[in-house]
Symmetry: C2
Subunit: 465 residues, 2 copies
């Protein structure tokens, strides 16, 4: 897009609310100005523009797992099906994926994300080594595969390489985790340094994602955060899985005398660079401290429900003005509207009333609160300073078709409610990244090619499906 291009919309979700007749001036991929302007050229106007949603937590390779892990394949009758049995299945696939298959899986996934309204993705990336557990010929090759797939699809990427060392608090890693492991902090920091150049070249961002307190001993975590600061500067994103499972909280308590979130807050300067993913099992004190810290909680409602993790006290956290964003995580669902719907509906069911999450808008509306806050938190978690559709922000937006039959006849703010609180297949008409449309008429131009590659990659697993 050449400098100073103008884009007109019938309505747009601006920081002050949903406003009709808005003209954006775009320069170098960012919004230069936002003006109120009655559209003369109605036929060239877009529908309702909402800021593009960041997908703050993705493990791209797990897209290959969807549908394959809903029945018990591990025949240990003493164990009921849980996060931990699912993880066995995930390891089984993780051990076999090569670079070509990963590219095929990630390509289709990023097309799916864009079509659903995600405009950026945080890749919590721990598949570092070849199927035999040693580094592939070119160090960092799997990370580069993800960068390449994102660049091809046109989604913004924040690559978050994962240091991973142990199989639990004071327990060594097991052989099925060998593709994820580094020898020591230094070994991981070499990978990070190597990736920094490629990331810069591809226009992506780089952060670091210590897998979890159970996989990264505190002493090594300190070295890694110090080292990462040298490589990446002081405000790069730091993501960590935390308190997804009660068993993890118990092990941490046993090993350290602290609950995981309390321990992180005590030992590190957890602030606006941080994203704590899941944080499902926090006590009230941890939740309030987390809200006050300025860090983002990364909620992944469809994955957390699929894995039976438990309930995050979302409505209480909103009362404490906590920041949050959403991620599709294992990709059982790739749809920001559905993630937000799960959050809202679970809160309504817990409180046995409606309007539980609505805080913003006049009158307050769930759509404004859910989409607005998830976009703000997600942008921060992925390292973007400005969120929303405002001068200086990225020209990343999602166009909802106001003539779509699930939205037709509604005022724009009500249309956003209808989009989020009911399934509205096909309501996303176009998706723009850096001021350019990457999805038009609901379809990404690479969908057909990505589907073909994906199907062919999936053929190898058919017999076990």
């Amino acid at each position: 897009m050449t400098s100073g291009t103008e884009v007109r919309s019938a309505a747009a979700f601006l920081p002050q609310g949903i406003v009709e007749d808005v003209c954006f001036e775009v320069e170098s991929g960012r919004i230069r100005s936002v003006k109120h302007e009655r559209g003369e050229l109605a036929q060239r106007r877009l529908g309702l523009l909402v800021p593009g949603m960041p997908n703050l937590h993705s493990h791209a390779f797990q897209r290959a797992l969807v549908g394959r892990a809903e029945h018990r394949t591990i025949q240990d009758p003493s164990q009921s099906d849980s996060f931990w049995t699912w993880r066995e299945e995930m390891y089984r696939i993780a051990q076999r994926l090569d670079e070509e298959a990963l590219f095929s899986v990630a390509s289709l996934l990023y097309v799916e994300m864009l079509e659903a309204g995600y405009t950026s993705v945080g890749e919590f990336h721990y598949l570092h080594h070849g199927p035999d557990g040693v580094a592939p010929p070119e160090r960092g090759a799997y990370g580069r595969v993800l960068l390449e797939a994102a660049a091809e699809a046109g989604i913004r990427m924040t690559l978050l390489p994962v240091p991973y060392f142990t199989g639990g608090f004071d327990r060594p890693a097991d052989p099925r985790q060998r593709r994820f492991l580094h020898r020591d902090a230094e070994d991981f920091l070499q990978l990070l340094t190597g990736l920094a150049q490629d990331v810069k070249r591809s226009g992506a961002r780089l952060g670091v994602a210590p897998h979890s307190l159970r996989a990264v001993p505190l002493r090594i975590l300190e070295d890694i955060l110090d080292g990462a600061r040298e490589v990446l500067g002081s405000s790069h994103p730091i993501h960590v899985h935390v308190s997804e499972q009660e068993a993890e909280v118990e092990s941490c308590l046993k090993a350290t005398g602290r609950r995981p979130v309390a321990l992180l807050l005590e030992r590190f300067e957890v602030g606006s660079s941080w994203c704590l993913v899941h944080a499902t099992h926090v006590d009230a004190a941890e939740r309030a401290a987390l809200a006050a810290s300025g860090a983002v909680v990364g909620l992944c409602p469809s994955t957390e429900a699929n894995l039976g993790d438990g309930h995050f006290a979302f409505e209480a956290y909103l009362d404490e003005d906590g920041l949050f964003g959403v991620g599709s995580d294992s990709h059982v669902t790739v749809d920001p509207a559905e993630e937000l719907r799960h959050l809202d509906y679970q809160a309504r069911l817990r409180r046995r009333r409606r309007g539980v999450v609505a805080r913003d808008g006049d009158p307050p509306r769930p759509g404004i609160t859910l989409w607005g806050r998830a976009q703000t938190g997600g942008a921060q978690a992925l390292g973007e300073k400005v969120s929303g559709l405002t001068p200086g922000a990225l020209a990343d937006w999602v166009e909802l078709n106001l003539e779509h039959p699930r939205l037709a006849g509604l005022a724009p703010a009500a249309a956003l409610d209808a989009f989020l609180l009911g399934s509205a297949p096909g309501a996303v008409r176009s998706v723009w990244v850096a001021g350019r449309p990457v999805v038009e008429d609901g379809r990404h131009p690479l969908r057909d090619a990505a589907e073909r590659r994906f199907r062919s990659a999936m053929k190898q697993w058919t017999v076990e499906g």
Copy 2:
């Protein structure tokens, strides 16, 4: 379809499980035989066929409400937003809908249902009179509008006219309910008799749906069930709203000394003709008695979540071998897969493990249990004796595209899991009713026309949206 037509599929969900290479012989709209047959003409084969899902609870006119009732329009600060404030909003729209608008709304709704995989619908129909609360010129006209819309779209209809008399236990109806009311049992039974001919002519089914114990005094309910038996025979469907809200349970206890489900079971022969809609707030004894009764519980997960009703103890009810089906109710979502996903995910979150609902299949799979049981329960609730894809059953099925990228490379049973447990937009390729395709390539041929009519009907409410 001429008699004896054959339809071949790559795989089909039969009573014994998912079987590959299945040929159905169809005659007069029903399945005559099911054979295992390797498809010679691969290009003419369908993908995975699953039995068409009955939508056992619909209030068609509420489709006009979607998106309009998520913000508080009733400014009574003493009341928090709830089912009851939503109902005010619903009454506001219900009072204004005329026959033409109802037809437009229902037409699009039935197209949406078919495209999503519902092949039949139970219309819990209480909009009997004109906007001024008196009968329209032709008695039963609104019911006929629904029959006509269903016939045009090609969805099976079980029309369930609703007797409605009081505004609560020992409380008269209020003016906003005037379109729903009949003077007495006799007045309602005249409507029922009048509709019986039209229903028969259109190939639909007819039942009766006493609105709820709070709207139909027990004495009148007895007269109506006796009268309906004379008009419709002994095994017509009987649907009733019950225990959706705690306030309703409390009022019933106060007025009668019994909880609503306990009272129904005590006073009526609740059995296989009955469908108790919602039954959210049942105690363990009511739940077990309900499961043993042979009646169907009509679950409407998306509406119940949207309204903040509360949790039905689904996994406990499955342990008791209770029958259930699903309904889209207020139509905030029109998607059987999403309804079933909500049920499963809520059960996983309550139990904090996976595979909570999986009971059928070898190994047990959530997809088989959810789709299979909801289809069986739904068929029974709508008055169909035979369910599933088996000789003698209706030739109503949904074809899932096994090449769809969310299902590609999966064995058919895993594909059903992936379809239900993640959003898979476009995975429904064709939908058949009575052995004929009514949806092909994911699209109903009347969609465009139905959308145009709907948009034009919705225009009148835009300013208030």
